[in-house]
């Protein structure tokens, strides 16, 4: 026989309460990052430094051969692309900036799980009636804003530094790729978060996967250069489609799936499948952990 049913105190569940959870989590996370002075600015510098490495290497190698680096870039790395660009600096900068957006989004849930486990706040969150989905929606909204600010700052500062113009074409299309690509990244992030929840370690896994990710998504080269099996694998990986889409939009160099519509359609399909799959796996892992040692154990 169950015990008698009573009230819930001041709690008033409903849609307004769910929206309030998303807003509160979003604002709290922004406040926290703002209190680490200079964090977002420093984050924006990472892709610039990251892009500077191949830019400087390419410039040096081409100069030693007495050739124009843009032409060398076009003839070697982009030889399989239907159209070419000599703007190798912007190519690298876009690759590195998109990579940093992808990194922020992809490791988002995993890092969140780990950080909250370590500070003890994960159990506090699991004690509250707010569903994880809404809490994570708030965390994700924050990560999206943070990633976009870092992306825009990196492109602006990097363009000034490398003396390139990112505004020549395709900005709305590039933003569309980022916006739609955000959803499959979110789904992948749940899968990774479930893995971290289970193994209770994030840093070493991220260190390894970060480079696999950079390799597969073609940060500094088009994936058309990869051998067929790797190329096919990379083409099914959402971050690759996002990078390819953003770069092709801004540089007009041809899309991996033939056209902008083709790439957007693939990305859209991924945007439906990945979050559903990711959240399902995350919930299954949570349930399994509750049967064992609990989610707060670290």
């Amino acid at each position: 026989m169950a015990a008698a049913r009573g009230g819930f105190g001041l709690g008033r569940p409903g849609w307004r309460a769910k929206a309030d959870v998303v807003r509160t989590v979003f604002v709290a996370r922004l406040k926290i990052i703002a209190r680490y002075k200079g964090a977002i600015f420093m984050e924006s510098l990472i892709p610039i430094v990251f892009a500077a490495m191949p830019v400087l290497l390419g410039t040096t190698v081409a100069a030693q051969a007495g050739r124009d680096p843009g032409t060398v870039f076009c003839e070697t790395l982009l030889r399989a692309s239907p159209t070419c660009t000599t703007n190798y600096k912007l190519y690298m900068l876009i690759g590195a900036a998109t990579f940093s957006v992808v990194s922020l989004m992809l490791w988002l849930i995993g890092y969140w799980v780990r950080r909250e486990q370590e500070t003890g706040t994960l159990e506090s969150l699991y004690l509250a009636p707010a569903r994880r989905f809404w809490v994570l929606a708030g965390v994700t909204a924050y990560a999206f804003v943070r990633a976009m600010v870092a992306f825009v700052l990196a492109i602006l500062l990097g363009s000034l530094l490398f003396q390139v113009n990112p505004f020549e074409r395709g900005i709305p299309l590039a933003l569309l790729f980022l916006a739609i690509g955000f959803l499959p990244l979110w789904g992948l992030s749940f899968l990774f978060g479930a893995f971290i929840l289970k193994i209770k370690e994030a840093d070493s896994v991220i260190q390894v996967l970060q480079w696999v990710l950079a390799f597969l998504m073609g940060v500094f080269y088009p994936i058309t250069l990869l051998p067929p099996i790797l190329r096919a694998t990379a083409g099914l990986f959402p971050p690759t489609v996002v990078t390819d889409g953003v770069r092709a939009s801004l540089l007009d160099i041809g899309f991996f799936y033939g056209s902008a519509y083709g790439s957007l359609a693939v990305l859209f399909a991924m945007a439906i499948v990945m979050p559903l799959l990711g959240y399902e796996v995350f919930e299954l892992t949570e349930r399994r952990l509750k049967r064992r040692e609990g989610v707060g154990q670290y």
């Binding site: 009573g6 709690g11 569940p13």
Partner: protein, 348 residues
Amino acid sequence: MEPIIRVDHISKTFITKERGKARKRKGKRTVHALKDVSVDVLAGENFGLLGPNGAGKTTLIKCLTTLLLPTAGTAWVNGYNVQQDEDRVRASLGCMLMGDRGLYWKLTGRENLDYFGALYHVPRDVRRKRVDELIELLKLGEFADRTVETYSSGQKMLLAFAKALVNDAPILFFDEPTVTMDVPTARELRRIVRSLNKDQGKTIVYTTHLMHEAEELCDRVAIIDRGEIIALGSPNDLKASLVREDVVHLEGILPGPTVDRLRAIPGVRNVVAQAESGGRTTLAVLCDNSRLQLPRIIEAATGNGASLEYIKPQEVTLEDVFIARTGRSLAIDTREVVAAEGKGGGGG
């Protein structure tokens, strides 16, 4: 009175990995943290869970607050099943389970309370008022607008306590809330806990290994050890159930017939004169149970020329109850005992 929490034959087993130095010691060990525990907590009751570290108190609380799923059995909290209606169970609770952990150190105290208020679905305008009330109630005003990273341990504990009250839930779980507090703050917190129970009718489940807290606060106490409830009842009943020789020291003018009257009381085993000075006598009354026999002892030691000036019973404590049932002190960690015996038992 209706039970507001019903625990129905809950068991919880953990599989833990042994990590010994020697290769042969490595392996898996089954720990029975809870063994077929059944108990009801009544609405409006202040219910204590008393036991040493590793006895299974926290595991039981984690099952009741949906943080862990039981291996067998089930429970209802506020009428909702902990496995099937998790959200409603959580909405019925206010919890302080991890001491000063579970707070965001880069947020202020006020921001933390607002944050968790939102997670408990407290509407914004109500929340603002509630946070102000709690800051006043717990005297957090001095530091509520500083980030938590600057707080002392006691201040963090107070904030964690306030967090448990933010949704004004009908059922409150406190897991050793006074553990890092100084004496005056702990006393004040116990006063608030008492007031929440007596004045606001909250049902409280209070975990502690401090017997004086359990005695002071709880209407009923479950003594838990090795995952089993070994005693359950009001602190007075539990103590009264212990058949043991108590000593009551009496001082005053206590002539010979008084001693005879005292000896005639059923349950009094002996009366020993300890000292005499200036017409005053000190007597030691040895009895089965001082709590039960004290009214009759006082009656016998007053009147008929006797005058009682001072009385000092040496009472049975809940610790004595625990020792009588287990042969161990509350201060000894159950996990150490279990490990020494090489058996599974005790959770945390």
